[in-house]
Amino acid sequence: MKRLTVLVITVLASLLSAAPADADPDTDFTNELHTFGIYGQKDYNAWIGKIMCERLHNGVDHHAQDSVDFVKKQLGKDDTDAQAGQFVGTAINYYCPDQRLADR
């Protein structure tokens, strides 16, 4: 009985902790941006990340540097080039991992 209780608690705990991680990539993306000190509205940043990917897919931007230039214009005035680069790397991971080769 004691073993069964421990098992139930362990399964419940893993379910509770696992659920939010996969729930919404935009939230995870936003949380990762926060680790770089990039803030701003969640939906806006996510949309910029997705547009950035679309621009790489359809050839509007060709290299990661093009993406950094694009993203820099959309971030806050106080955000740096380095943060724009971190935004691009993170957005590629979340929204267009097939573009990792462009990240040069």
Binding site: W47, I48, I51, E54, N58, F70, K73, Q74
Partner: protein, 161 residues
């Protein structure tokens, strides 16, 4: 001199006088404001922003600029555009090309026509936001016309998504 029985009557008369004076004052204050807001004419900034009336850029240059400096606004427009029938897409292109081919007096007259006659612009009935990326936001117009001359004038790929 007021005695006790006359005092409430005097107060009532005073209150009524104040109410009449207040109504008259209100009438004087709101009269000119009503006249000022009654006009439906176009202005030099409405319904089309002044920057758009005066820019030498083409529709494609404005769109290319919007794609870079107002990407979310551009994206919303393009999503709307791509959900329209091909005939409406083509006619929207043709109509905006025609608009940007006009000189300033022509564009100003067009603004006047659309402001005063809801039936003037046929495209608006087929697609109400057909020119949103160009006309609807003064801030967007300011930012796109600031840099539009740096883009190619006839790059039709800006209409692709």
């Amino acid at each position: 001199m007021l005695n006790r029985t006359n005092a409430p009557r005097a107060i009532r008369i005073g209150v009524a006088a104040c109410a009449i004076a207040g109504l008259a004052g209100t009438g004087i204050a709101t009269g000119p404001a009503e006249v000022a807001t009654a006009s439906a004419d176009a202005s030099d900034d409405y319904p089309i922003p002044n920057r758009i009336l005066r820019t030498p850029c083409t529709a494609e240059q404005i769109m290319a600029a919007a794609r870079d400096v107002e990407p979310v606004y551009y994206q919303r427009y393009m999503i709307d555009y791509s959900n329209k029938p091909v005939a409406d897409q083509q006619d929207a292109q043709d109509r905006i090309h025609w608009f940007f081919s006009l000189d300033y007096p022509g564009r100003r007259q067009y603004a006047e026509n659309t402001a005063t006659n809801a039936f003037y612009e046929n495209m608006s009935w087929r697609w109400p936001n057909w020119a949103k990326v160009f006309f609807n936001n003064k801030g967007v117009a300011a930012r796109t016309t600031d840099v539009c001359m740096n883009y190619p004038p006839s790059d039709m790929s800006v209409w692709d998504r």
